[in-house]
Structures are given as structure tokens and as C-alpha cells.
Amino acid sequence: MTILVAMLSVYAMYILTVSVMVLSAQRRDRVPALFVAVGFPIVVVLAVVHAIFRGRELKIGPCPHGLEEAEALIERKRQVMFNRGPVEPTIAKTWRRRYAMSLELQAQKARRLSLQMREILATV
């Protein structure tokens, strides 16, 4: 019972903080943002449970065209808004690297499969 109260208290503290943050910062799309913010811990728990019991590799799509430019634009805006030093944008770079890595892994799997197929066909 006490642990449940503690967990609910943590969730209440989290909801209070993120609701204030989202409502004060966002003027447009407030309801979806609030929904994402409030439901985030539940999604995290479900994702962990899903990863444990039905662990599957995530499929990564190609990085959208123009993401790097959008990121650079947001970074410039951040510097203007908050008067802080530059931070290197990493989303597009990481996305490209991971996509390239996933393609490499797929190619490796295909290569292994073709070798196995060749061995099987050689024995027939």
C-alpha cells in the first residue's frame, strides 16, 4: 500500500511539473503535448515490459530530408532566445549513422543467409 502511495505521489509530482511546463510554454497543440507528457511514464513502463517479453529489433527508417537544416535553424534560434553558447546538433547525424548501421546489419544477415543457402544447395 505504502509503495503504491509513493509511486502515485511521484507520478503526481511529475504531472504537476510537466503540466505547468507545457501549459506555460506551449500556445499551440496544448492538449496533445499535455497528453504526451502525462502519458509518458506509462509508455516508458509499457515499452520496458514489451522489450523484456517481446524483445524485437527496432526498424529504423531513413533520415528525413532537411532534418539537419531544421535542427541547425532550431539551434540558432536557441542561441538567440537564451543567449547561450552553441551546442552541436546530433539528431540527424545519429539517425543517419544508426540507419547506416541497420543497413549494414541487414546486409550481413542477407550475406549469411545466402552462404547457408549455397551450402544447402551444394548438398542437394
Binding site: V10, M13, Q26, L73, I74
Partner: protein, 178 residues
């Protein structure tokens, strides 16, 4: 047991959590009353750290009392003073860790999220920078970056709250064991 008695019992047994829960709306209310819009986000970001200071305050106040809950809890242990010192050291270490997370992760994500909101036309719709993004997929790209930073911000806040919540829960156990 009546409902009011059940609630009172729960509050009494989880006094530290109740104090922590009361602190957040009070602090937000005070900042709102001061109309300090620039300082509001700083207040929100430092909330988990503040909760750690609440637990430090409780521990120190318990130490100053002659036979406080901390001494009572550790009285059966072979080295009570060392245990109390370890508890305090863990609490201070937790403050440092939370401060570092807040400085290097939460604030950076927050600033990027706000910048993405501004670029998306949420706050400054007549921004010149937006003219650079008049292509159709650009809105999606900004939304991608916005969601990425929002999720990063929520994740870092959640981690901090879970850590602080767990710590406060342990402290609450010490305080309710009298």
C-alpha cells in the same frame, strides 16, 4: 476505519512525501504570484533538486532533536552514527547528481524544445527564420526535432523524479518507524 481517518493515517505514515507534494504547488504558486515569468522555468527545472533539499532539511532537523526519528531508527544498528553520516552523504551526493543531470541534460533539452516551439511559429509567428523553412517537409522536420527534445526533457525529468521519489520513500520509512 472512516475515510478521513484512513487519509489522515496515510498522510501521517507518508509525512515526507506529503511535505514534498505540498512544496511543488506552493512554489509554483509563489513564482506565479511574483509574476517572474523568466524564472518560472528555472523553478520548474530545479524541482527534483528542491525535493532533495527538503529531505536534507528533515534529516538535519532530526539530528538536532535529542532523540529524533533518525537516531531511533538506527539505534538497533551496530554503528548508528556512521549510518546517519552515510545517509547524509548519500543525500548530498544525490543533490550533486541531480544538479548535474539538470544542468547538462534537462535544461539543454528544455531550451531546444522552446526554440523548436518558437521556430514552429508557436510564439513568434512573424519570425524571419521561418522564411527559411517554407518547404513542405520542413514543418515535419521541425516537429521531429520538437518531439525529440520534448521526450528527452520528459525522460530526464522522469528519471529525476523517480530517483527523488525513491529516496523520499526511504526517508519516509525512517520517519514513520517511531
Amino acid at each position: 476505519m472512516q475515510l478521513i481517518e484512513l487519509i489522515a493515517d496515510l498522510i501521517h505514515r507518508n509525512l515526507v512525501l506529503t511535505v514534498a507534494l505540498a512544496l511543488i504547488p506552493l512554489k509554483l504558486l509563489m513564482v506565479r504570484l511574483c509574476k517572474d515569468q523568466d524564472g518560472e522555468w528555472e523553478t520548474v527545472m530545479s524541482m527534483p533538486e528542491d525535493l532533495c533539499y527538503v529531505s536534507v532539511g528533515l534529516l538535519l532537523s532530526s539530528l538536532t532533536a535529542g532523540r529524533g526519528p533518525l537516531q531511533t531508527y538506527f539505534s538497533g544498528f551496530p554503528h548508528p552514527r556512521t549510518d546517519v553520516a552515510i545517509i547524509l552523504a548519500i543525500n548530498f551526493a544525490l543533490i550533486v547528481v541531480l544538479h548535474k543531470i539538470s544542468q547538462s541534460w534537462t535544461r539543454v533539452q528544455y531550451m531546444h524544445w522552446r526554440a523548436a516551439l518558437a521556430v514552429r511559429g508557436d510564439q513568434n509567428s512573424a519570425d524571419d527564420l521561418q522564411l527559411e523553412l517554407n518547404l513542405s517537409p520542413s514543418e515535419d522536420n521541425v516537429l521531429h526535432v520538437l518531439i525529440h527534445h520534448l521526450v528527452g526533457l520528459l525522460g530526464s525529468l522522469l528519471i529525476q523524479f523517480v530517483v527523488v521519489g525513491f529516496w523520499l520513500y526511504r526517508i519516509a520509512e525512517v520517519f514513520s518507524s517511531r
